[in-house]
Amino acid sequence: MLKRIALLVSLFALAATPAAAQPAPIKIGAILPLTGSGASYGVWMKGGAEMAAEEINAAGGIGGRRLEVIYEDHAADASKAVNAMRRLVEVEKVPFTLTSYSAPTLAIQPIGSQNKVVMMNGGGQSDNLANKDYLYNNIPVVSNEVGVLCDWLTKEKKFKAAVMIVANDEAGRNSAKSFRERFGAGGGKVLAEEQIALDGNDFRAQLAKLKAQGGDLLFISSYGRNVAIVADQARELGITLPMAATSWVQIPEVLKSKGAQGLLTTRLPFNPESAFARKFKERYKTDAGFFAVQYYSGTRIFAAAADAAMKKNAGKLDGEGVKNAIESIKAFDTISGKLVFQPNHAAVMDIEVGVLKGGKVEVEKVIKAAQ
């Protein structure tokens, strides 16, 4: 019986071979927050990558080969990201992966570097993500944004004494560190800080402590839906201080949260009226956001680099080739303009500052990127 099955299987395989005569697809990974407190980012990231892959395939693929994206969920957990990366490297043998979040990306970077797999991070912003082998960030590091935010807060808005609530992870701590430095450099002072768990949902004790410290500003060094919880619970506890945050808060939960209205925030450029945003909305029945463009662009950058690498290496594609192509092309055309990788492997972008009102950020000012 077993033999017969084996025979059938091999016959089937033979029969199937001619149909699969097209070249094997190019597989790349995408390690994203598909569940957990940042699942909203995941919807955009996955959608953006998916749309890019579909468009690339509709236009004939990369060097005649189809592009296939394998999605993995890290749920903001570095160990899950490492497992996903191992699977992508060892089982799927990808030359490239999209990655997201600071701690998960820092955790997978050594694996990527050892196995010569290029990692493109379009979401995580810890400064520690810069200057890493095989890791490219098509997003600015957080100190750029925090610097702009602090200049605005101290020089124009005249804030002097901040209290901080900080997510107890790589991204939260790193942005808090920048804030302490830059707010201090602008003549302000950080009076107190309290740490919170990224997956927590009751921060009232920490907020009550901060409330007792006074100050004139609450800086939220966190991301995902817990920013909305912090904002709502702060207002519930009678904290009337203005609040400030970086572009991490550009997700529906925060923008729509009642407590977060009036938030002073930075934003990275995203045009909700663009052709991309319209197409995204049509395809996914939900509004697009900045991170959708980021992962669309990340996938497009890979396609351009892979195409160049294959042309250079007689059709052969590997991570080293992609890395060399990124290094030599350096400036990529994206739907949000020219993206230039800086010597530290991170991008620079225009940074907007503004106030959240009625679910939308009213931009007050745009600080142009120094390319």
């Binding site: 569940t35 957990g36 407190s37 699942a39 749920a75 107890n168 309290e194 740490q195 919170i196 949902n201 009751d202 009232r204 004790a205 920490q206 009550a208 402590k209 409330k211 007792a212 839906r225 919880i229 207002r235 519930e236 506890l237 009678g238």
Partner: protein
């Protein structure tokens, strides 16, 4: 001083939730000697029952809550009937029952995560979410309801245990199971009753947390852990002890960070517990813990 009052109030709310879990868990443990960690799963199930009732079946909130409490009580009863009693019938040790309970907790939590995703499912609680300002203290109506409901549930449970025939049977089984059997009390039925009531007490805690911050699949583990700690602090077999233990833990968790950074929150609770239990192994009001009972 304002900070202390605020931390006290928040601690009282959190402590009430722990107390609700602890009196239910303590009732079950005192009666059956099962280390029922799947109590945490009942806590989570209740939250999802209420959520499903409101958002999927479109029931009015009070109806969804009452049905969810009944469904949670039934779930607890079925866990005893279909799992623990079967194990006991086959002569399983208490440790096996504990491991089975742990397995069930993990199984149910993961099934909930698959069905509903691990993300919190928010409930619409309308005006209950409005902030109330009492002097320097800020709470929501839901928080005040939490404390009030805990006091009512505790009073009702004590009255039931003291006055009703079934309540007396539970107390009899709890203090001397062999004696209770010889006077003709059906142990299995008393166990089922303890599971139903204990689960009906965990249910409002699960639902109140879901109303505050959303239903989440893995939230119950921490609550059952703190409930068992509360019961041991209060003294095994003592419902007033469990109530006090639960409230004490909530207060400790919040007041503990008055002078210490907040990342110490859990370390404070469990550190104090360890010191307490070494100095006073019987807890506030409890009888001596016999090795056979654990």
């Amino acid at each position: 001083m304002d900070l202390v009052l605020q931390l006290l109030a928040t601690g009282l709310v959190v402590g009430s939730l722990y107390a609700l879990c602890a009196i239910g868990w303590g009732l079950i443990y005192g009666t059956t000697l099962h280390f029922h960690v799947a109590h945490g799963a009942v806590f989570a199930l209740a939250a999802y029952y209420a959520y499903a009732g409101q958002t999927l079946l479109h029931l009015p909130l009070p109806v969804a809550v009452v049905l969810a409490i009944a469904a949670a009580a039934l779930s607890g009863l079925l866990i005893d009937l279909l799992l623990y009693q079967q194990l006991e019938r086959r002569g399983a040790f208490r440790t096996s029952i504990f491991i089975a309970s742990l397995g069930l907790l993990i199984l149910l939590e993961n099934v909930l995560a698959i069905v509903f995703t691990p993300d919190p499912m928010r409930m619409d609680i309308g005006a209950l979410n409005t902030a109330v300002i009492i002097g320097p203290v800020f709470l929501t109506y839901l928080h005040i309801l939490t404390v009030a409901l805990t006091i009512v549930a505790y009073g009702a449970l004590m009255l039931f245990l003291k006055r009703s025939r079934w309540g007396q049977a539970i107390r009899a089984v709890s203090s001397a199971p062999e004696m209770a059997r010889t006077v003709g009390i059906d142990l299995k039925r008393v166990h089922l009753l303890a599971y139903a009531i204990g689960s009906a007490l965990a249910a409002p805690a699960g639902i109140l947390v879901a109303m505050d911050v959303g239903a989440e699949p893995f939230r119950g583990t921490r609550f059952v852990l703190l409930a068992s700690v509360g019961v041991i602090m209060g003294g095994i077999g003592s419902i007033p002890g469990a109530m006090l233990g639960g409230v004490f833990l909530g207060l400790l968790e919040n007041l503990g960070i008055w002078k210490l950074p907040s990342e110490w929150q859990s370390a404070i609770s469990f550190g104090v517990f360890l010191v307490f239990i070494v100095l006073r192994p019987r807890g506030f009001f409890g009888r001596t813990i016999h090795s056979a009972e654990i």
